[in-house]
């Protein structure tokens, strides 16, 4: 089963070198256990844009998304045997932030529908 975890937090908060190192280690651990197959961080919303369809009309707004309390900061893709396994990796990810991250952090864990074993 393939899961994407989407990390949301306050825009502009920067991880310390200690946190970056810890998360890097965790990522390497997940990769060495064959669980993580992809990951990435997203740039600031000031470099992005938002496109919206409403009432048949498309509007595009350049970043930053100043009104947003939380923005997506990064993602990881796991290939695991169960949702619980994806949750376990996410718990470890959050755990790594304790004491090193002052803001709230939310991770959404979603099964990917392009899972190679689905749709057969």
């Amino acid at each position: 089963m393939r899961f994407m975890t989407i990390v949301k937090t306050r825009e502009g908060a920067r991880p310390s070198p200690a946190l970056i190192e810890k998360i890097g280690k965790l990522g390497a651990d997940a990769a060495s256990k064959g669980a993580m197959v992809g990951m990435g961080g997203l740039g600031p919303t000031s470099q992005g844009a938002r496109a919206r369809l409403a009432n048949g009309k498309i509007t595009v707004t350049d970043g930053p998304f100043t009104e947003a309390k939380e923005v997506i900061g990064g993602y990881a893709i796991y290939e695991v045997a169960s949702k619980q396994e994806a949750i376990a990796w996410t718990r470890a990810f959050l755990e790594a932030h304790i004491g090193l991250w002052d803001h709230e952090l939310e991770v959404e864990i979603r099964q990917m529908m392009d899972d190679p074993t689905k749709g057969c």
């Binding site: 197959v37 045997a81 169960s82 619980q84 949750i87 376990a88 990796w89 470890a92 392009d114 689905k118």
Partner: protein, 418 residues
């Protein structure tokens, strides 16, 4: 936390942590059977305690600490009646370990080496292939006996017996728990790669049963391959095998139709191929080639798979390069199955007559006597040459030979369509 929720969480933790747990313990006690027992004890403790206490913040460390305590307790209480515990005591005595801190330190060191030792032991040449497969899925894959039995469509008792016997064989042969170096490592790894690819193939084209693919087995094999690539990063063929499996797995979704029927490579909707896996596969192939593995058997097969992965349409396939790669493979490991595949590529590159010439030379090969793909390939080539009656007879023969229900249906359809 409900009991069920805790049990699910523990299941997940077990999948993630059990291999390292068993590996670390095995180095201390010297025997994987004893190590697995200790790890299982820790699992039982988790099942008792976690529903009340919740899952600890670092569940892997919790399990390891618990297992270590069990090992030390057994030692302290001096209850060494049975053979395993005697063994445990002796190992610790020999190392002159004063239990707690040093034992703990000993387990924490060399995690990578321990895991590699574990997989090398599980795939040791003294074991039968069946035993290697069962033991690898159990100790490295974290699968239960039940799950292994279901995956291979055999009774649970059969797998149980296989595992018990395998552990006994390893203990009797006094197989040392260690990582050999240099040429010996490469040689022992061959056996591991063989086992991993066997597991993958059993999932990729099930030899028996109602389903043509069992993707869970492919996933297990891929996971083992990815772990192995981290454990032995300098071994080109490990990356070659990973590349091969990633690229083949990228087609899993596209190679089964809505009714569960197989869809052959050239007929697949390439838009349904999994590009995450293709990207990973091509990267692993590049790594294997950079390590000088271009002519290893798995790397060669991965290079062939990559030719298909790179072609946006079936027509764009570089068949001439595939023929050249099969030529290399045929020299490296001459086998009638490789020859048969080479014939398919020849037929695509230089016309069906060229392919048929090679296939005809194989029809008397006793190794292929019961192999359904021989008449199946021959049928395809004959059909392309307009020899429909002969082609029909070949498809019928192939249908009789295959054990797989889905494949049989496909072959019948092919014959009827002519």
């Amino acid at each position: 936390m409900t009991r069920q929720k805790a049990a699910d969480a523990i299941d997940a933790v077990w999948r993630i942590e059990s291999a390292r747990l068993i590996a670390g313990l095995a180095r201390i006690v010297g025997e994987i059977g004893v190590a697995e027992d200790l790890a299982q004890d820790a699992l039982v403790a988790a099942l008792e305690q976690w529903p009340e206490s919740g899952v600890p913040d670092n569940p892997g460390a919790w399990l390891m600490a618990t297992a270590k305590h069990r090992a030390i307790d057994q030692l302290r209480r001096g209850k060494m009646q049975d053979r395993k515990h005697e063994h445990l005591g002796r190992e610790l005595d020999e190392r002159q370990v004063s239990p707690e801190p040093e034992l703990a330190a000993a387990i924490d060191d060399h995690v990578g080496d321990d895991l590699l030792s574990l997989i090398l032991t599980a795939c040791h040449p003294v074991l039968t292939t069946d035993a290697r497969v069962a033991l690898t899925l159990r100790l490295l894959g974290g699968l239960t006996t039940d799950e292994i039995a279901r995956a291979f469509l055999v009774p649970k008792a059969t797998i149980q017996q296989r595992i018990v016997r395998a552990k006994r064989t390893l203990a009797a042969a006094r197989v040392p728990f260690e990582v050999p170096r240099g040429a010996e490592l490469a040689q022992r790894l061959e056996s591991v790669l063989e086992v991993v690819y066997l597991i993958f193939n059993e999932g990729y084209s099930a030899t028996a049963g109602d389903e043509w693919v069992r993707p869970a087995l492919c996933e297990d094999a891929l996971r083992l391959g990815r772990i192995l690539a981290e454990l032995a990063p300098a071994e080109a063929e490990v990356h070659g095998l990973v590349a091969l499996m990633e690229i083949q797995a990228s087609r899993l979704r596209a190679r089964v139709g809505p009714g569960g029927e197989p869809i052959l490579l050239l007929d697949q909707d390439r838009g349904r191929w999994d590009h995450l896996l293709i990207g990973r596969g091509l990267a692993a192939l590049a790594r294997a080639e950079a390590l000088g593995g271009a002519y290893g058997p798995y790397t060669l097969q991965a290079a062939i798979a990559a030719c298909h992965a790179r072609a946006r349409t079936a027509e764009e396939t570089d068949w001439t390069r595939i023929v050249a790669l099969y030529d290399g493979l045929a020299q490296l490991m001459p086998s009638p199955v490789v020859e048969l595949n080479r014939a398919v590529a020849l037929g695509m590159a230089f016309g069906p007559a060229a392919g048929l010439e090679v296939v005809d030379s194989l029809t008397t090969d006793p190794a292929l006597a019961g192999y359904h793909l021989l008449p199946s390939v021959r049928g395809d080539l004959l059909a392309k040459l307009g020899r429909f009656d002969e082609a029909r007879a070949e498809f019928a023969r192939a249908a009789r030979l295959t054990q797989n229900v889905r494949e049989r249906d496909l072959l019948h359809k092919k014959g009827e369509a002519l």
